[in-house]
């Protein structure tokens, strides 16, 4: 019963995440940018734009220039998150890939880094007057959700370790449309449940910043308007 519920939850969450984000991405891709609006100075070649975007999503370049504290907490959280995600791939592949194994020893530190980053960001929502002003309840809830996910994850590492091989069996089963037994360990269930919630809210929340950044015209356009004429389809129709 429990296993079946979680299986359904994960199938549903995955479907919502994939379909929801895909719909948004399709929309972002389909809606034209009628004008050239890169924030200049901007790269004048496609390769340059790829490099700019790389620096933006890997190093958070603009954020670094903007505010060192937000950068420190935000970057720590995101990079920790990546390592933790990589570390979790082992639960979905029968043989652990070498580069996943490589991340294994760092995963734990990454978990703490993630948590520290989140708590730093959350603290700013209370302590910095300007950020307090712009925070909505959902901003706090999102942080609470992520903190709970990271916290429950770390607890399973240090406090109450579940039968990890059964968890892996359950996940591998899901990938093969078989429902294996999921250990009924409370912290594990909380952890998995919250992850499913995160997946479900992803396409209807500010988490859309993740695909959104790649579609931001101020960052992804090439600075070449004099050389190449840029024209949106609806604008071309004005020319009649």
């Amino acid at each position: 019963m429990l296993s079946a519920s979680f299986a359904i939850l994960f199938y549903a969450a995955t479907a919502i995440l994939v379909v929801g984000v895909a719909m948004k991405v399709v929309r972002y891709a389909r809606v034209p940018a009628p004008l050239k609006i890169p924030t200049t100075p901007a790269p004048v070649t496609r390769a340059g734009v790829i490099l700019r975007m790389f620096r933006e999503v890997v190093f958070f370049e603009s954020l670094y220039r903007s505010n060192k504290w937000i950068w420190l907490f935000g970057w720590t959280f995101h990079m920790g998150l990546w390592l933790v995600l990589i570390r979790h791939i082992r639960y979905f592949t029968y043989d652990v890939w070498w580069w996943v194994a490589l991340a294994q020893p760092w995963g734990t530190y990454a978990g703490f880094a993630m948590l520290a980053g989140l708590l730093g960001l959350w603290a700013r929502r209370f302590l910095v007057e300007r950020i307090r002003y712009i925070s909505n309840p959902s901003d706090h809830l999102m942080l609470a959700l992520l903190v709970a996910i990271a916290g429950s994850g770390l607890m399973m590492r240090f406090v109450a370790r579940p039968d990890i091989m059964s968890v892996k069996a359950f996940m591998l089963g899901l990938l093969r449309f078989r429902i294996e037994d999921l250990p009924a360990q409370p912290i594990l269930l909380v952890h998995l449940g919250l992850v499913a919630v995160l997946m479900i809210v992803f396409p209807i929340s500010k988490l859309l910043h993740a695909p959104g950044v790649f579609f931001s015209p101020s960052r992804n356009q090439i600075d070449n308007p004099r050389e190449r004429r840029h024209l949106a389809p609806w604008a071309a129709r004005l020319e009649g």
Binding site: T40, P43, S62, S66, I134, N136, D139, G212, V213, S218
Partner: protein, 512 residues
């Protein structure tokens, strides 16, 4: 009306104020009259079904403009932008923080167009579109100069200017336009420029200025108008025909063209570089104005188009002209289309065709204000960042005492003058002064450190704004200069008697 008596005294230009909620609430620039609105194709006054129309327009914009769609979704409220707006720094009003300004519209978008906002409005800060909200929009979307400083610092490049433009377009579409911008756009459509300067008056002004030039230099330097077959058509803000120090810039362009030996002309049909269609976010109006330039270029049979000193005009010219009014296959493809006057002048300086007596500017200790639209929405030259280097190169070629302001307030981080984006109107004077205070604080710093006396600019709005607000900060109104005014002062025309050249130095030795 408060006249900015409570100007913040900033020790450092980027001092972050404490939040003063409601400090600028209710600021409401004059509404466009029905006759202004009609010329732009907008309803004359607020429609009875404005709410439905506004939401329809919002949906349409989300379909038409990727930036609008992505920027409304992507913000995570990280707060990186909160201390980046000069109007926030100058007023402390939290709704002038870029994210908060966006949220005025985002909250409504969420309410009507997103799942979370439809079913959990309180949770995500979504709210109904009411008349109060509409008036709040009108107030705070006219406290944004669309300068894009926030977009530099946003990790997703969210550009509040795009949201402001969309909001103004929505308001225009329901009959709530701003008088200043919309009246002016109407004048461009009727007469060809923002001022309403008709061809006869323009010709008289130019002839008058030609006289002045001859009196000053002893040389006949022309300001040609509507001369068919000229190589270059100069498109310059009409303020260059009217205001100080703009006119001195115009004289500078004329001298440079004269010395470069090119044939050029102004157009009475397209006697305006400015394109306020940008400010109100109206692609159609912006296009209509831009097409005047295309038509003028074709009618006059010119080979090249050069733009004078005007910030947002250069954005529209550099970034949009090809889109709005291209392709310009009938122009000479050897030259950039369009070209900035500073690109032209710098090119001539590099070729060595211009001679300068830099000592003519020795009474000035100068700094340079990067205009927002030039800095963050355009380029000059072939390399990214040319929009910073080329003006400075030209300045250094004509002026001995040059000092940059704090790096956090120049280049792509430049602070808006406080009057851009359709806010250069007397009914927003308090906002303009407060918005200028961060820039003024940066200027005061270089005045203290390096004895800077003057600031040069390459934007008609910046020049007018500074000449109006600088007296409130202890500077003379003529402390702001056109870059080509400095060129004009230093240039030595071929055959020109340099009467007061006491040391008899060869001016050629002064060229950079």
């Amino acid at each position: 009306m408060a006249d900015g008596d409570d100007l913040p005294r900033m020790d450092f230009p980027l001092d972050i104020p404490c939040l003063k909620a409601g400090a600028m609430e209710g600021l409401h620039p004059f509404l466009a009259a029905p006759e202004h609105q009609a010329k732009l194709g907008f309803p004359g006054e607020l429609l009875p079904d404005w709410k439905e129309r506004a939401l329809e327009k919002m949906a349409e914009l989300a379909e038409r403009n990727r930036a609008f769609q992505v920027y409304l979704d992507a913000c995570v409220k990280c707060g990186a932008c909160t201390d980046k707006c000069h109007y926030f720094l100058g007023t402390g009003d939290p709704k002038n923080m870029p994210v908060a300004r966006q949220d005025l519209l985002r909250s409504v978008y969420r309410r009507y167009f997103t799942f979370a906002g439809k079913y959990f409005p309180k949770l995500v800060g979504a709210r109904d579109l009411t008349e109060d909200v509409l008036h709040e929009w009108y107030s705070y979307y006219h406290q944004c100069s669309e300068c894009r400083r926030c977009s530099v610092f946003c990790p997703y490049g969210i550009d509040t200017a795009e949201i402001t433009m969309a909001a103004r377009e929505i308001m225009d579409s329901v009959g709530m336009g701003q008088k200043y911008s919309n009246e002016i756009i109407g004048k461009v459509k009727d007469i060809g420029n923002n001022l309403g300067l008709n061809p006869k008056a323009l010709r008289a002004t130019l002839e008058d200025l030609e006289e002045d030039l001859e009196d000053e230099t002893g040389i006949s330097v022309r300001l040609p108008l509507d001369e068919k077959g000229a190589d270059i058509m100069l498109i310059t803000p009409s303020a260059d025909f009217f205001a100080e120090p703009h006119i001195d810039g115009l004289l500078g362009y004329a001298k440079v063209f004269h010395e470069a030996g090119v044939s050029w002309t102004l157009s009475s049909y397209a006697s305006e570089a400015a394109n306020f269609g940008l400010f109100i976010g109206s692609y159609e109006n912006m296009r209509e104005i831009a097409l005047r330039i295309r038509k003028a270029a074709q009618d006059l049979g010119v080979k090249r188009i050069v733009f004078g000193e005007c910030g947002h005009a250069w954005r529209v010219a550099y970034s949009f002209l090809n889109t709005l009014a291209g392709p310009f296959d009938f122009l000479d493809q050897k030259y950039p289309i369009p070209q900035h006057i500073l690109e032209f002048t710098w090119g001539e300086i590099q070729k060595g065709t211009l001679r300068f007596d830099k000592s003519k500017n020795d009474h000035i200790r100068l700094t340079f204000h990067d205009s927002c639209n030039v800095a963050r929405a355009s380029r000059m030259g072939d390399e990214p960042g040319g929009q910073f280097e080329i003006p400075r190169n030209v300045i250094r070629a004509v002026c001995n005492n040059y000092f940059d302001m704090d790096r956090d307030t120049t280049h792509e981080s430049t602070l808006c003058c406080g009057g851009g984006g359709g806010l250069l109107t007397d009914d927003l004077m308090e906002l303009r002064k407060k918005g200028a205070s961060p820039r003024m604080a940066a200027l005061q710093q270089v005045s203290e450190d390096h004895g800077v006396t003057h600031m040069a600019a390459i934007c008609a709005i910046c020049k007018t704004q500074f000449s109006k607000v600088m007296p409130a900060f202890g500077y003379e109104m003529d402390s702001v200069l056109s870059v080509h005014q400095l060129v004009s002062s230093a240039i030595v025309l071929t055959g020109q008697e340099t009467g007061d050249d006491e040391e008899g130095a060869d001016p050629r030795g002064e060229t950079a």
